[in-house]
């Protein structure tokens, strides 16, 4: 349990922060998610605990947004507003220039593409898992990832990398 927490808490906070645009509330949501996890009989989550955590965390996040009447803003692409377009100072120093550039390109994708791209390539979920977490169809997930990867590929190539 400790291990589960240590391994996934940061990733969940990161995920929820992106959705909520607020790291404090993201931490609350994630904490709540873990409390719920502890109430689960082990057999109910055994073997897919990570997917379970993300699924519950996402629903809790949407609940929070809904309660605050912010769903609409979220759907409009809240992420673009929360994130600055420009690379933040220091980023190029911590990651390679290539990586920084890719991250900038990712930040410019529509919010729904960003979310699936991160779930796929940052959290390592499969299309099916992402489909269950986001409640989109597998085909839809596939289309979003395809579109995003294609755009990133072209922009990346154009940027001379």
């Amino acid at each position: 349990m400790e291990t589960t927490f240590a391994q996934h808490q940061p990733a969940l906070v990161r995920y929820a922060t992106r959705l909520l645009g607020d790291s404090e509330r993201a931490r609350d949501v994630v904490q709540d998610t873990f409390v719920r996890l502890m109430a689960q009989p082990p057999v109910a989550v055994d073997g897919h605990v990570v997917e379970w955590l993300f699924t519950v965390c996402r629903r809790r996040t949407l609940d929070v947004l809904r309660k605050e009447g912010r769903m609409k803003r979220f759907e409009e692409g809240q992420l673009e507003r929360v994130h600055a377009e420009e690379a933040r100072p220091g980023r190029a120093m911590e990651a390679g220039e290539t990586h920084a550039q890719l991250l900038r390109l990712i930040d410019r994708l529509p919010a729904n593409q960003q979310e699936v791209i991160r779930l796929k390539f940052q959290n390592g979920f499969s299309y099916k898992e992402i489909s269950r977490i986001t409640e989109l169809s597998v085909g839809n997930v596939g289309f979003l990832i395809h579109t995003a990867v294609q755009r990133l590929r072209q922009e990346w190539a154009a940027a001379g990398e």
Binding site: S23, R36, V49, V50, W52, I106
Partner: protein, 672 residues
Amino acid sequence: MNRISKDDPRVTAYALGELEGDELALVAAAVQADAELQAVVAEIRTTAGALEQALAGEPAPEVAAKAPAKKPAKKPGRLLAFPQLYYVIGGAAAACFTFLVVLQEPSAKQEARAPMASLVQDKQYVEMSLNAPKEAEEEVEASADAISLPAPRASAVAAMPQKSDVRGLAKKRQAAPAVKGEWLACEPAPVAPAFNTEDYSYQRDNDFVAVATEPLSTFSIDVDTASYANVRRFLNEGQRPPRDAVRVEELVNYFPYRYAAPTGKDVPVAAHLEVAEAPWAPAHRLVRIGLKAREVAEASRPSANLVFLLDVSGSMEDANKLPLVKQSMQLLVNRLRPDDRVAIVTYAGASGLALPSTPVSRASEILGALDRLTSGGSTNGAMGIQLAYDIAKANFVAGGVNRVILCTDGDFNVGTTSEGELVRLIEEKAKGGTFLTVLGFGMGNYKDGTLEKLADKGNGNYGYVDSAAEARRLLVEQAGGTLVTVAKDVKVQVEFNPARVAAYRLVGYENRLLRKEDFANDKIDAGDMGSGHTVTALYEVVPVGEGDAATLSGPGVEPLKYQRPAGSTIAASGSPELLSVKVRYKEPAGQESRRLEFPLVDRGATWALASEDFKFAASVAAFGMVLRESPHRGTATLVEVRRWAADGMAADAGGYRQEFLGLVDRAATVMR
């Protein structure tokens, strides 16, 4: 054939390994037929790899608009505070939960007392035992009960912790020292640069363990033999093998022993125990545990769906690499039945399908395709493995032998490869019934540790091919064992009788040790046994009354003050048994383990009375200890080793024991 546009989302899904069944077959065929699509797939994979790397290093999202001052910088201390609060809340919710000890994984070059940690670590975090009264969910929408997830994907998720935060084994090693209750957020350390040098994981010899402290010894079996062939290669080149390239259990298991096959129809494994004087320490006893797997007749084995995954990168050009790979695979094809199928996937800078899955009844096509392979480019093992598993899945034989056979010098050096990711993929596929056999070739660039790990995770076996003769041994004489698994996750637990045994030492198996509670835990992986395989393990045992305190506590550990000295009379159980060997295994498709138990009574046999198999195995172990300069080698020297081995030369089918004598002589020359 339907042409597939390069803008088809299925191409992306295929490149990312997300397709299954008919769709996979369709797209794989289209990609194979279309060079442009192949290029697109390669490009998508490159992008995917870059995305993974970039996102792995992505800083936590910043919320610049809101209270920037409150935004904590990412620092280790951040994780410390939060779990405490969480425990308080958690404690209220849960009636009890069991903490699991976070095992330490040995750093590659540092210490190595916690072997199976990499296996264990990936899994254990899901194992919690919660007996919590279920709380009413106030919001139905968030109720977790509503979420039911299909089980088959479970393993993939279970094995993914390193993807989210702790990526790859290299970083995981950094994080490993996080002992229970103490959270350390480690900055990712740079992976050690891969120079063109051979790479072996450091292993320290097992020490003596006092029975009074720990009466149970648990390990996973290992049928690999790669170390022996590798040691032979070094010695034949006139070099002393690096210590860590010598894995004693793999030397011992290289040789066939005449253990009787199990008689019961439903028991796939039999154990044969023997005890006699330890030749290198006559006051000590040597216990031999010999396991023998059921033999499946060639004609009655299920048909095979094999995918040869061949490294054709530039580094494979040498005569003892690609040409030997081709020769080996040709030997294997000639050994297969007409109803078996073979596909060939190559990998270098770009991975490709050299031969779609073809029945062995058309063997000439397979042999022709092997013949046409040429080397060039650098290696991207990960992409090749993905493609190979895709092909294996598309041609999956239910209840059959589904296996990817990887031939490489193990130098995965291009692209997206993180070792942890690769291992995760292989582990996941093994759960789906596609196993992995790894054959190592060549020298100078040989990555022993990587290859062994891949085979371990893939429910597979691992051999090192240094010559056509070795290829014949692995792929012709032992084809059944290499291809057909009869028992998986085979674990051994030995319980020592404190009335008879003061201390014991497992000879070899340093990287196969398990915790005692792992024995009955079916989630913990272990080694597999193929048709007819034998596994031999040796314990050096200090009888009660023989041990001095220093031996019993192990070097560097002072004798305990308050514990009863292990040498003194302990309330005897009265049993005449020296020890009991418990074996757990699963049927190849099973999920639940079964348990066998075999007791052993010591009748005081001297060396002279020991069986020839026993003597030979002991001499090989002693050879390994001498090469490793083990602190426990006692009186063993190469001269003695040769003498002991000469006592055990009977039944030398294949002439392997004779060859061993030659190798001991060779070692004596090299090490002088």
